[in-house]
């Protein structure tokens, strides 16, 4: 799971700010949005500019307009876009990174799902971390669910499917060994409950935590495998689809739609959106987060607030 990090230190200087008036940045921004769904508001263009600057020095582009050419008309434009997206989405991640999404899951979605499923006498929850990379996301979800196991989820069973395409990432995720960086947002209490010492600097997830997660290698483009994933309540797929072209993205999102139960949710990265990808999902706002809901059966959610 890569994470879009548009909130890192403001390094913009006065000259950068003047540079930002260059309309080429807006064009690059809009192009990235159309191709990947990742968006930066104008006030955050300086962050995009600093990411572009790194690539510009590599390809020796002198102006943003010249770099725009690398992204649009040069023969290697697809590769260049990918490299730029790599700069924008920082590979490293940590537990409890997307707090507003996790709060929405615990405070809004779980109560909603529990109410709906209780009515059917079906006390089981399935979460899926699609593109789980080295496992920070599924372990975070596992801790969140376990913390609710004596409260909201008393009497419920739950599990998490964690998939990735990369075997090395998956092996790392299965081992569940993390250093200070990955655990920076994890409270002391949670560390003590769900981790054990591994070596001097690292902790390892306990068997209890691991037992909630099923790791598997899945290519999201693999129709044969995707068709058989059913009954999922919530999918987290952060900054994975940005690397897909529109046609494959549409196909994957259609699969997600079928993978989800009615009323289930899909979460993307926090600067990512399903722009022109699938109109069947309902866009739902939570405090500080946006999710995509497969419409529930019966009266639609929403209404007066």
């Amino acid at each position: 799971m890569g994470i879009v990090d548009m909130g890192t230190p403001k390094a913009a200087t006065k000259s950068d700010l003047e540079d930002l008036r260059d309309p080429a940045y807006l064009k690059i921004r809009d192009m990235i949005y159309q191709l990947s769904g990742i968006y930066q508001p104008e006030e955050k263009l300086y962050l995009l500019a600093s990411r572009c600057a790194r690539r510009m020095s590599v390809v020796k582009a002198k102006t943003p307009a010249e770099y725009l050419e690398h992204l649009t008309v040069r023969g290697n434009r697809e590769a260049e876009l990918r490299l730029l997206l790599n700069e924008i989405t920082i590979g490293e991640t940590y537990m409890f990174r997307s707090l507003p999404q996790l709060e929405a899951l615990r405070n809004v979605i779980l109560p909603q799902l529990i109410q709906a499923k209780n009515a059917m006498g079906f006390k089981r929850l399935h979460l899926w971390s699609a593109g789980c990379s080295t496992g920070e996301e599924p372990y975070t979800l596992a801790m969140l669910l376990l913390e609710e196991s004596e409260k909201l989820l008393r009497g419920w069973t739950f599990d998490i499917l964690a998939t990735d395409l990369n075997d090395n990432s998956l092996a790392g995720a299965k081992a569940g060994i993390y250093g200070e960086y990955a655990l920076r947002n994890t409270t002391e209490l949670l560390r003590r409950k769900y981790f054990k010492p591994y070596d001097e600097k690292r902790l390892q997830a306990t068997d209890q935590l691991k037992s909630l997660i099923r790791f598997d290698r899945v290519n999201l483009n693999d129709d044969a495998k995707m068709i058989f994933l059913k009954g999922v309540d919530v999918i987290f797929c952060c900054n994975v689809l940005i690397y897909f072209d529109l046609a494959s993205k549409r196909k994957v999102v259609q699969h997600f739609y079928s993978n989800l139960l009615s009323g289930g949710y899909l979460f993307l990265g926090h600067a990512e959106s399903l722009y022109q990808v699938d109109g069947r999902f309902h866009l739902v706002h939570f405090p500080g987060a946006i999710g995509y809901q497969r419409p529930p059966i019966g009266p639609t959610a929403g209404g007066q607030q």
Partner: protein, 298 residues
Amino acid sequence: MNADRLEELRPRIRDLEAMPTIPTIIQPLASALMSPPEQVDLERVIELVSYDSTIAAQCLRVANSPLFGRQNTETVRSAVLALGLKRVETILLGFCLNRIVPPDKWVLDAVTFWRHSLGCALVSSKMAAAVGYPDPEKAYVAGLLHDLGILVNTLTCTQEFRKCIQAASNGQAALHQSEQEHLGFTHCQSGKILAEQWHFSADLIEVIEFHHDVVAAPAARTLVSLIHLSDLLCRLRHLGYGYYEAIGVNLAGDAAWAALGEEYPALASVDLARFTMDIDGAMDEIVATVDAVFKPQY
């Protein structure tokens, strides 16, 4: 609504009129803010600012804040020019309204309240522009003043209102629902009474009364819908009432969305995810402006 409770409140709201702190310039300011920018009289605004030394000091402080590049502005005139008319008028209006609440009486703290109000003003005018609503200025003022009733409740039933907010915060619930439960009326109804006393325009009064119940708005449903959606968006982007509201809202499924879309079909093509992220970008300025004006200085 509990009609008796609201009737009890009426004389107390009338008494507010007698408060010496009610600035007489509120009404002219609200109408000045609503006129198109090219028709605003710069000299009149400078005069209004100079009229009150505290307000003049606030304008200078904001103009000299990091947000505006610490310009070393020394005169009211240059401060007004540096800030732009829109910001000056907003600061003026906010400051006048702010003054009717004694510092020790605030229930929602002033910074939270003004971040929400100014946020709603900005989102309303952005949304107005996005759908082609012809009067973004009016949308801005309506957004700024939609929660006037919160000030009324703060002043007329401070203790009970404190309990409302506490209960709403504990239950992660909407404020107007908590008010209904604990007070028997909401800030919509109490705000309407003061807005009428202050002779606000009819559509502004409707916004104040119906922004949580769009379908009940008799005449200005489009404007009310616009404000309703902006209010929700602010509460969903960390500019609410300062506590976590456990809500998940499909805005496109909201009655206000349908009402606004009926009048302005361009709404259907608004990319809501992108619009939301643009709002986030603009929120930094809201927060900085409000903090510069209303945060206590030590």
